[in-house]
């Protein structure tokens, strides 16, 4: 049986959340609130650490330009001031702009072009199957086909849907292993680290 306070708190919290499987209860919702609080506190601490490293220190070190992101960042908090919420639009716009500016070219380069280039392989049974499957799955998501055109691509879209279902089957199989591993992790924590009744 473990004697460390941290392990005991973790064990009680684990049992509280697992009790949701029995039925929703007060013990569960108390520890859910504790979990939500801990997550928010951790984000706040990590946020402050990075503001100090990437903004405050350079600002003190003389880089006056570093004041701009600090002002934009502070504008996020106008959401909590009634009537001033529209000022939070500017940091949101900046983050969205940077997000899209990073994401869109990568989508064109890595997700679009590199994946197409990777399909230019010498034809074997597998590579041809891959090429045909890719085309059929793309056709499945082709929406503006006229009735006449749709008749031609109807059967390829059936094949595309079947290939997609096999992919979702693989995703399903891996998801089951993932969730099982999490449950196994918690059970072995309770039996081994907390109760110590396992080898």
């Amino acid at each position: 049986m473990s004697t460390s306070l941290t392990t005991w708190v973790a064990a009680i919290g684990t049992l509280a959340l697992l009790s949701f499987a029995w039925r929703e209860n007060k013990f569960y919702s108390l520890f859910e609130h504790i979990y939500v609080a801990s997550g928010a506190a951790h984000a706040l601490v990590q946020g402050v650490k990075n503001i100090r490293a990437n903004a405050i220190t350079p600002l003190i070190g003389g880089q006056l330009i570093a004041i701009v992101p600090i002002i934009l960042g502070l504008l996020f908090y106008t959401r909590f001031i009634p009537g001033k919420a529209k000022w939070s639009r500017y940091p949101i716009a900046a983050t969205v702009g940077v997000g899209l500016g990073q994401n869109l070219p990568r989508l064109a380069g890595t997700n679009f072009m590199s994946q197409i280039r990777a399909s230019f392989s010498i034809w074997t049974f597998n590579t041809v199957l891959v090429l045909v499957s890719i085309i059929c799955v793309i056709l499945y998501f082709y929406f503006s086909a006229s009735e006449k055109a749709y008749k031609i691509i109807k059967y390829p879209t059936y094949f595309g849907r079947l290939i997609m279902m096999m992919a979702f089957g693989a995703l399903f199989g891996n998801t089951v292993m993932g969730r099982l591993s999490l449950m196994i992790g918690r059970v072995s924590f309770l039996l081994q680290d907390w109760l110590g009744i396992v080898g």
């Binding site: 029995w22 946020g47 650490k49 990568r106 380069g109 280039r117 591993s181 196994i184 080898g199």
Partner: protein
């Protein structure tokens, strides 16, 4: 009889699963696990790196994925320290430092490594993809201090690490999506080799990067950790949990089969409507 089984109380099903995964913990069977190609390639690549190469370990997983990815991080850290590589820990997920510190502690029980010379922890940096891009261009600007607040300029090993061209390899321990940023912003622009250590749910959607060679190898959840532990000869939680995975899978498959038999036995034909 099968029809009555359908409305079995869920809690009995939960109990059956709990028993199935706890039994092997009491007396492990130690079923052998074969190492698959996508895991071996990560191990072989590290084996061929000459000592002192810079390997970036990007710790981008959350507590919800840690039971699958953290055993992988421990195994790979042990391997890198044993080959005395220079390891740069960092992350774009807010839990990076906490998990890095634990992996380093485990690895130091087996191998010698000195902070600031053999490894450094630059900690977490918000900003998602933009931060990965910025790091690729200039590491010192992006990470002015390490996670303990020491200016990076005072850390000996960081002297000759300026940008992505100085990385021999990046390993993305990822449950949130950082692998897409490393493939798109680092591998595509600098050719830096990328390996992925993932929770199982993300393995399927990383296969295209593996097939196109943008990612050199993938570790798949607890099984990947067990395979890697076997290769470096230092067994850990990956191996010990593997028997429970086998039993858990058997129970789930058994339920699916029994459920379908009773479904068809009770005359409910598959719905024709959905022929499309």
């Amino acid at each position: 009889m099968l029809k009555k089984l359908q409305d079995l109380d869920s809690r009995i099903i939960y109990l059956v699963l709990l028993v199935a995964i706890s039994l092997p913990m009491f007396n492990p069977l130690g079923l052998p696990v074969s190492v698959i190609e996508q895991t071996r390639r990560v191990y072989d690549f590290i084996e061929e790196l000459e000592p002192g190469s810079v390997v970036v370990m990007s710790m981008d997983y959350s507590p919800g994925a840690a039971p699958e990815i953290h055993p992988q991080a421990i195994a790979i850290t042990k391997h890198l320290f044993s080959k005395n590589m220079r390891v740069m820990f960092m992350g774009i997920s807010q839990y990076a430092s906490q998990f890095a510190r634990d992996a380093i502690k485990e690895a130091l029980t087996l191998h010698e490594a000195e902070y600031g010379v053999d490894y450094v922890d630059l900690g977490f940096k918000p900003g998602e993809e933009a931060t990965v891009t910025a790091m690729g261009r200039n590491v010192h600007n992006t990470f002015p201090e390490d996670t303990y607040g020491t200016p990076v300029s005072q850390i000996p090993m960081m002297a000759d690490i300026q940008d992505a061209n100085d990385f021999a390899m990046v390993i993305a321990f990822d449950s949130g999506g950082s692998r897409h940023y490393y493939v798109g912003q680092i591998n595509s622009l600098y050719g830096t080799p990328i390996a992925c250590a993932l929770n199982s749910v993300n393995v399927t959607n990383t296969m295209p990067y593996y097939a196109s060679g943008q990612v050199l190898g993938i570790l798949n959840g607890v099984r990947g950790a067990a395979e890697y532990e076997q290769m470096i000869g230092s067994l850990g939680t990956g191996t010990t949990n593997l028997d429970s995975i086998s039993f858990g899978h058997l129970v789930i498959i058994f339920f699916i089969i029994i459920g379908n038999i009773s479904y068809f036995a009770s005359g409910r034909k598959p719905s024709k409507r959905e022929v499309r």
